[in-house]
């Protein structure tokens, strides 16, 4: 049987706006993925520890406070140090357009802003994680 795609939805930083994170967690679960939600106010260290422990394929970061330039790259860096680049990191929240290239440069695969249909995120994850698992089995 195919292993289900495993996703950690995480809220770094201090903001408590978790409506989006929770909606996405449920949508991914309804799309057949295993989803773990960290709860709010997680440090990058806590998020990465959870990602490693849960052996996830994807980490989805949600942040609305404006601290994304500081916190998203930190999560990517710690993940790379601990497990290499096998984990896909994506993000969402209030992220100004001009910050997106900066985040991508630092290893965030995609940013999904307000108004993104959950189906777009689901398709993106399936495609990317599919590629990766094919890559490792080849």
């Amino acid at each position: 049987m195919m292993r289900k795609i495993r996703v950690l939805i995480a809220k770094p930083g201090l903001d408590g706006h978790d409506r989006g994170a929770k909606v996405i967690a449920r949508a991914l679960r309804d799309a057949g993925m295993e989803v773990i939600y960290t709860g709010i106010r997680q440090t990058p260290e806590q998020i990465v520890a959870a990602a490693v422990q849960e052996d996830v394929d994807v980490v989805g970061l949600s942040l609305l406070s404006g601290a994304h330039l500081h916190l998203f790259p930190k999560v990517v860096k710690l993940l790379r140090e601990q497990v290499g680049d096998k984990v896909l990191v994506i993000g969402g929240g209030i992220i100004p357009e001009e910050d997106i290239p900066i985040l991508k440069e630092q290893g965030v695969a995609a940013i999904f802003g307000p108004g993104t249909p959950t189906s777009v995120i689901i398709d993106f994850i399936k495609e990317k994680v599919g590629e990766k698992s094919q890559g490792t089995s080849a």
Partner: protein
């Protein structure tokens, strides 16, 4: 109330209209939906008539403005006397920058201040705490000590403005800082007007800036009630908030229900602490959301007013009419703002603001069109404020009181929302009240279910969001977004270091020791916090003492 014969005649005529006129029209052109629904998903009929409000008793259910049950408004003359307070929530970066923004807003005709604090301040961390990294000054102003607060209100006479502060877990500390600034300005406490949000229960349920567990948090709140009833008689000691509950996804009825359930918990806590209901209840205030569905929102405000009046009178035996008045602030719904075609948000905000005014709000914040993208720029804030001014001065809606009172639709909606909210409150009562319902995750689950339902409706196209799932277009990325200077964090750290070098550290230590003693006792904690604040103990130092004594809240996260 109409006589039974008159109702029968209307019923018969409506049946005839439906079978003859309506069916013919539908056969030619079907209606847009089989079933219409409000923004909250409640069915909407084709037409409302006196039959739908046949049980309405004018004097019992509506009455007169300024009189029980306050359905039509809390003041006898409403906006004919004075418009609502136009109060834009603002604050970012350093105290200096925010002070400039406040002076700008006051110069533009704003009539009250509303302070946004950054997240470290709201969660009780100083700017140099590791958890504060990247967050300092981002979503509000960074306040570490009285020194920052003095700058924030520099040249703003505190006896002339009313100030609302969105602060919850550390509300007592920020209130004490405000009092200390007033003392320095020579303004007596009984002249201070304003509000602290101070509503911890909705933080657990929806907003997230909690620090301490429920029990000591409720004690801090009731200590504030007791202290202010004697020392700050004009101060709103709490702003019991449905706003964030709605933003998190709740329906209109859930917004009323969960807010009033929280309010009931506060009243019960205060009674248990030995206060008399009419001592503190007149200073309770509320905060609601103004969402998209125009009539449902207007009905929501009216239903909330009537239900609260009944609860205070019947359940808590309040005698003072002011204890029964639901006075509220409104903010337009941030979650309805779109990042796509952001200028469209100006129109959304105008409609929502109009609903708040027709619903009888006491003060109003209108969102800026660029807030799905960043903190608002000055132009966007100005348009948001002008929107209120146009409603107030040009639209004519403020010239008479509750102009939609008596509308068959609005009255039917008001009745329905009140009933639905009552049912929720009964359910929460059966669980042992709001604190228990939150601890069990019930309220959070209800909100999440509604949020998910809404999202699925948008994605299936059942619900249209202009510019998002219909009428999309290619657009240029927006320009002129406000950026908070990343140097704020460093500047705050430096200020903290200087403060700690200059203040009388022995006095600080003495005050913190005394605070620890009082926190462990049942004495009112406010005077000890006030002394610590005046000695320039930092917010983080004070919260650390309280964390030590009270412990920290650990949430239950279920998705």
């Amino acid at each position: 109330m109409l006589k039974e014969e008159a109702l029968q005649a209307i019923r018969a005529a409506k049946d005839a209209w439906e079978t003859q006129k309506v069916q013919k029209a539908i056969a030619k052109h079907p209606e847009r939906h089989e079933q219409f629904m409000t923004g909250s998903g409640y069915p909407v009929e084709r037409l409302y008539t006196p039959v739908d409000i046949a049980d309405l008793d004018y004097l019992r259910d509506l009455g007169f403005p300024g009189e029980y049950p306050f359905t039509r408004g809390v003041q006898p003359t409403m906006y004919r006397g004075r418009f609502w307070t136009m109060r834009q929530y603002a604050g970012f970066g350093t105290a200096e920058e925010s002070n400039q923004r406040y002076k700008f807003l006051l110069s533009q005709g704003q009539t009250g201040l509303s302070v946004a604090f950054d997240l470290p301040t709201q969660i009780g961390y100083d700017s140099d705490h590791p958890m504060a990294e990247g967050e300092v000054g981002k979503v509000g102003v960074a306040i570490d000590s009285l020194a920052d607060m003095e700058v924030l209100f520099n040249e703003i006479p505190l006896d002339k403005v009313s100030t609302s502060m969105t602060i919850n877990a550390p509300a007592a500390i920020l209130l004490c800082m405000y009092m200390a600034v007033a003392e320095k300005q020579g303004v007596p406490f009984n002249k201070l007007r304003g509000t602290i949000q101070n509503d911890i229960l909705k933080e657990y349920a929806a907003r997230g800036t909690y620090i301490f567990p429920p029990e000591p948090s409720m004690r801090l709140i009731t200590d504030i009630f007791a202290f202010c009833s004697k020392e700050l008689p004009e101060w709103n000691t709490i702003s019991i908030s449905g706003y964030h509950i709605r933003e998190a996804g709740a329906t209109a009825a859930q917004e009323i229900a969960f807010t009033l359930a929280d309010a009931i918990a506060y009243v019960e806590a205060a009674l248990k602490a030995g206060l008399q209901v009419d001592e503190f209840a007149p200073r309770l205030s509320f905060f609601f959301n103004a969402h998209n569905d125009f009539f449902e929102e207007i009905a929501k405000f009216r239903a909330a007013r009537r239900l609260w009046a009944k609860i205070m009178k019947e359940r808590f035996g309040a005698k003072d009419p002011r204890s029964m008045m639901l006075r509220f602030h409104t903010q337009t719904a941030g979650c309805t703002l779109t990042a796509q075609q952001p200028m469209n948000n100006i129109v959304r905000v105008a409609i929502q603001a109009l609903a708040a005014v027709l619903g009888g709000t006491q003060s109003l914040h209108t969102n800026s069109y660029d807030e799905a993208l960043a903190l608002p720029c000055e132009e966007a804030v100005r348009i948001a404020l002008r929107t209120q001014q146009i409603i107030a001065y040009e639209s004519g809606v403020a010239e008479t009181i509750d102009p939609l009172g008596g509308s068959y639709y609005v009255e039917a909606l008001t009745n329905r929302l009140e009933k639905e909210a009552q049912d929720y409150i009964a359910k929460i009562d059966a669980m042992g009240g709001a604190v228990k319902a939150i601890e069990q995750g019930y309220i959070q689950r209800e909100i999440q279910d509604s949020a998910y339902r809404y999202q699925k409706e948008v994605e299936s196209g059942r619900r249209t969001v202009v510019g998002v799932n219909k009428f999309q277009m290619e657009e240029e990325p927006p320009k002129n977004l406000l950026k908070v200077d990343p140097a704020v964090g460093e500047a705050q750290k430096k200020k903290l270091k200087e403060l700690k070098a200059q203040r009388d550290n022995r006095q600080v230590a003495r005050c913190l020791e005394e605070l620890r003693r009082v926190a462990s006792s049942t004495e009112n904690i406010i005077p000890a916090i006030y002394e610590a604040v005046k000695a320039y103990a930092t917010l983080g130092e004070i919260c650390d003492v309280l964390r030590d004594v009270f412990g920290e809240y650990r949430p239950l996260d279920i998705v």
